[in-house]
Symmetry: C2
Subunit: 199 residues, 2 copies
């Protein structure tokens, strides 16, 4: 049983290496180099460790770490969906669910079920842990874009109002982080790297 | 205090982005593309989640995750040290300690102290958590090299005996993972991608 589990786990460990090839739209800090999903997931895990004290509610940090570490694994099959792509919803598409079942399904059954459950909990975004994990997922690209002359906001001509609407869920995880983020958005407008809609 | 901490934490979060530029000698699975330290750290965290059940001793998984997520952050200043480089010791050099103090020192004092303590515990390798974390750190490049026609073993002409000597500490963290790893090393010799010393 021990060996059987281990062989399945190694197969999974090899498969998820592919996450390092999934390129995001956002770029590294002060950089022209695109970030990949593995780097992004590592960064969210570090942010979780460092920022957990700002959560609105007490959270199980281990569970949040699991969420942010695995949240993009489905993109190995389903691909990265750009948050400001108006033609495709990012939330829990059928394609992502099939991907979750295939990729986590490489693991021993109990682990596969645990990972799929945690991934769904993240996607649903209703528990305290999922809310905080989503705050991290929204904050990282905001920090990156603000450091990159507007980054994807400028590149894809995304308005302040649209960005604000996507970012405001940070507040559900942490009011103090949202206060910081809201300030950063306003500063970005002042600096001309994020544009308000023209009425 | 809340805001003061947050500003320090954001400065740290930006600084550690540099880990994505630290290139390792090893390459991704079945690939010619070098891995970077952020990708490597994410992969060790995933391996920890998946393989924790094989630990010889009960372990605090959250602590092991902290170890593997931060273990290479010092390389932002100190650079990557190749495990088979005979001219430079990888273990806890003065340069790495100075790096730990500078980089973790960007954080609020209590967090800085916690991270430096955890990093030192990993480097010392004596607690059950550090032993398991080191097993993960040794296993990943072994799996990669075995998938890459010998990878760095072949590229730098490293003998089976030298590899075996570096890898055997996997056993301190997990006997069952070591059994798997030892088999993989022997298979690599049989396949001609890892060479025994010529007497």
């Amino acid at each position: 049983m021990d060996t059987e589990n281990l062989l399945k786990q190694v197969a999974f460990i090899k498969e998820i290496d592919k996450l390092k090839y999934i390129q995001r739209k956002t770029k590294l800090f002060n950089s022209d180099r695109h970030e990949n999903d593995a780097e992004h997931s590592w960064h969210l895990a570090m942010m979780t460790l460092v920022l957990a004290e700002h959560s609105n509610k007490p959270i199980d940090v281990l569970k949040v770490l699991k969420m942010v570490l695995i949240h993009d694994v489905v993109e190995i099959d389903a691909g990265d969906t750009f948050i400001y792509d108006s033609t495709k919803s990012h939330t829990n598409t059928e394609e992502e669910l099939i991907a979750a079942k295939r990729i986590f399904g490489l693991l021993p059954i109990e682990q596969a079920e645990e990972f799929i459950t945690i991934w769904k909990e993240f996607e649903d975004g209703t528990t305290d842990e999922a809310k905080f994990a989503k705050s991290m997922d929204r904050l990282e690209p905001l920090l990156q874009n603000a450091s990159n002359h507007g980054g994807t906001w400028a590149e894809f001509n995304v308005s302040y109002e649209t960005v604000y609407d996507k970012k405001k869920i940070i507040k559900n995880g942490s009011t103090s982080i949202w206060n910081y983020a809201e300030n950063l958005l306003n500063q970005s407008v002042d600096q001309g790297i994020l544009k308000k809609k023209i009425d």
